[in-house]
């Protein structure tokens, strides 16, 4: 019915606007929610899209995706989800085409770098594309929602009796990780660095203490003194870059450097939907980092000082890959040097530029 469709279309537009607005305002919801919201929007966009072949669908999703990302260019998760969906569309298209062709490719040597991908223009009409794409995206959604649980299940491999573990700020994945180990009756101690100026660490410490974990809250300045007594460092991250580096809360780089200095392992607990195909050097600072209001560091009441001093409050840090020992992900433990393989699996090189 024509009016119903127009309603649906405007309803979708509204949702997109609300999403982009929320991102612009920086009402930070956690990464998992952002990912799920993006995916839900993309599912709607795809179900309402009109297209005759995969190429048009790709173009449409890319254009909408670009608009979604523009709400907050530093939020990689949005871009990651868009690119995952684009890759899903490409894969489903190929699956349908090869099923229709019904035969194995005649050449034995399947070199993906040289062969048919170049000639693939995704232009053949495929009737069932929409349905299979949406199904695959729903699978992706389930994978994301279950991520923290899968990681928490591996906690006992990495947390041992009487361990002293250092962490920074608040990460839901790491919190679940610790709680899972505590539930299995392992006695360990956690030192939480408060992560000034936003002090998310306070909430983390409170939650861990409520789970009956021996928790101590420290400031960043104390990390250096406490590091020799620590067994290992377990942190979460905002996202991963394609070279294996991290984009994490401010303070993580210093933490990692100190850990390296004292030869302590740095374990990152994070789901793989946070892996981005971008390199941090290709992102201009405007899209790598976000800046908080200087009010966090210096009160507006000190207005006199403010006029003479430049106050910068970045939200993210870049941690180079050689400071990280390993990543515990929803697919199991990974080494950072393996990240390139995952990027190749999850994303298509043509989608890097949205």
């Amino acid at each position: 019915m024509p009016t119903g469709e127009a309603d649906k279309a405007s309803g979708l537009k509204e949702r997109i606007e609300v999403f982009v607005d929320e991102m612009k305002k920086g009402n930070s919801v956690n990464s998992c929610e952002i990912a799920i919201n993006t995916i839900n929007l993309l599912i709607r966009i795809i179900s309402q899209a009109k297209f005759t072949n995969a190429r048009e669908l790709l173009k449409h999703v890319k254009a909408e995706g670009k608009y979604l990302q523009a709400g907050d260019p530093s939020e990689n998760i949005i871009g990651n989800m868009i690119r995952r969906v684009l890759k899903i569309i490409r894969e489903e298209y190929r699956a349908i085409i090869s099923q229709e062709a019904g035969q194995e490719r005649s050449v034995n040597f399947e070199d993906t770098s040289l062969a048919d991908d170049e000639e693939e223009d995704y232009a053949k009409p495929t009737p069932n594309l929409k349905a299979s794409v949406i199904e695959a995206i729903s699978e992706l959604k389930t994978e994301i929602e279950g991520g923290a649980e899968n990681i928490a299940a591996m906690a006992t491999n990495y947390i041992h009796e009487n361990d002293i573990i250092l962490t920074i700020g608040r990460s839901r994945t790491v919190e679940a990780f610790f709680k899972s180990a505590a539930l299995k009756k392992i006695k360990f101690q956690v030192l939480v660095s408060e992560c000034a100026p936003f002090c998310h660490g306070h909430e983390m410490a409170k939650n861990l203490a409520e789970a009956k974990i021996n928790t101590t809250l420290i400031t960043e300045c104390q990390i250096g003194t406490i590091m020799p007594r620590v067994n290992k460092v377990i942190i979460g991250t905002h996202s991963f870059m394609a070279n294996g580096g991290l984009k994490a809360v401010t303070g993580t780089n210093i933490l990692a450097l100190l850990a390296k200095e004292h030869n302590k392992d740095v374990i990152v607990c994070s789901s793989l939907y946070k892996l981005s195909p971008l390199f941090h050097s290709t992102l201009k600072h405007a899209s790598f980092n976000k800046f908080a209001s200087p009010n966090e560091l210096l009160d507006y009441e000190d207005a006199e000082l403010l006029s003479k001093v430049e106050v910068i409050a970045p939200i993210f840090d870049y941690v180079p890959p050689d400071l990280i020992s390993m990543v515990v992900s929803n697919n199991g433990p990974q080494s950072v040097s393996y990240v390139y393989r995952l990027v190749k699996d999850y994303y298509h090189p043509d989608d890097t530029e949205l």
């Binding site: 040597f109 770098s113 040289l114 070279n243 390199f279 050097s281 040097s337 393989r341």
Partner: protein, 300 residues
């Protein structure tokens, strides 16, 4: 096509287009050879190609590039379902596909690598790598403003030619002494070099002087980026400078002249993967650990 014709064609190509990589010229020559060959068996054709390759290796052009290019070409063309009656056509077709991709490789790399050149960066580079020069030119066309330091690159002083080329497109370039690399390192943000060959563990073989440059960059925490086409992936695994075979290090004419190699200056050195941050190839932007994976796929 006999040996002399092969050599003439190869040398002709290298002379006509100085921008062409030795490997691409070699592959083009091999395709021409296949077109005019009347070998009746598969092994006959393979033998012809091998002979032609060894002829081209007697020239003074980069041994590493020619070997890797020709070896990969041979592998790609012969690794197919070949019927005895039809093999020439299939091999020729695959050969042309390979050549096509080799020709497009540089453009792909330039597209990727020039994104890493930001406004206001200072770049240090070494010797005349055609790919690096093209990357810098492409970045300049994107209206990015950056400065370049280039080493003189003894003994052939190819750095001076680079300065001329870059100055023509308006990139402020300064030539520095090879020994001034340590001095200048604190002023640069990144180091970018090409490669004559990429070895199995992700290390590179490049003009002599690359290794000390890499060590210095690592020490001063500057990223080292390598730009090279995928046909430069070589099946070699040197663990030290000594392990690099003499044929890579010295020109063919030097070895032929029977000179005492201990007294000759090597033309290339080996840089191990721990010094390299990223590699830009037509297979994508790779970390050195990704190289062995890609190599396996290429050489199967």
């Amino acid at each position: 096509m006999d040996d002399e014709a092969v050599l003439n064609h190869f040398n002709e190509l290298m002379r006509e287009d100085p921008e062409m990589s030795a490997a691409v010229a070699a592959i083009t020559t091999l395709v021409k050879l296949m077109e005019s060959s009347n070998a009746e068996t598969l092994s006959g054709l393979v033998d012809t190609i091998r002979k032609a390759t060894s002829m081209m290796l007697t020239t003074d052009f980069s041994y590493a590039s020619i070997t890797s290019g020709c070896e990969q070409f041979l592998r790609y063309t012969t690794l197919a379902n070949l019927q005895e009656t039809n093999f020439q056509k299939i091999m020729l077709h695959r050969g042309k596909v390979f050549l096509n991709n080799a020709l497009k490789a540089r453009a792909k790399i330039v597209g990727m690598a020039q994104q890493f050149v930001d406004d206001g960066t200072t770049i240090l580079t070494h010797c005349r790598s055609r790919v690096v020069v093209q990357v810098l030119k492409a970045a300049a066309m994107e209206k990015k403003r950056f400065t370049v330091f280039i080493t003189e690159s003894h003994p052939d002083k190819s750095g001076l030619a680079v300065k001329e080329e870059l100055s023509k497109v308006g990139i402020p370039t300064t030539v520095i002494l090879d020994s001034a690399v340590g001095y200048i390192m604190e002023r640069v943000q990144m180091v970018m070099v090409g490669a004559e060959g990429i070895v199995e563990n992700g290390g590179i073989i490049n003009k002599i002087g690359t290794f000390p440059l890499a060590v210095c960059a690592k020490q001063m925490n500057k990223p080292l980026y390598v730009v090279a086409e995928s046909f430069k992936f070589v099946r070699a695994f040197p663990l030290s400078q000594r392990d690099v075979p003499d044929v890579y290090k010295y020109r063919a004419s030097t070895i032929r002249a029977g000179k005492d190699l201990e007294q000759e200056h090597p033309t290339v050195d080996y840089t191990s993967p721990e010094f390299i941050s990223l590699m830009f190839t037509d297979l994508g932007v790779l970390t050195p650990s990704a190289v062995s994976d890609e190599l396996i796929k290429l050489y199967c």
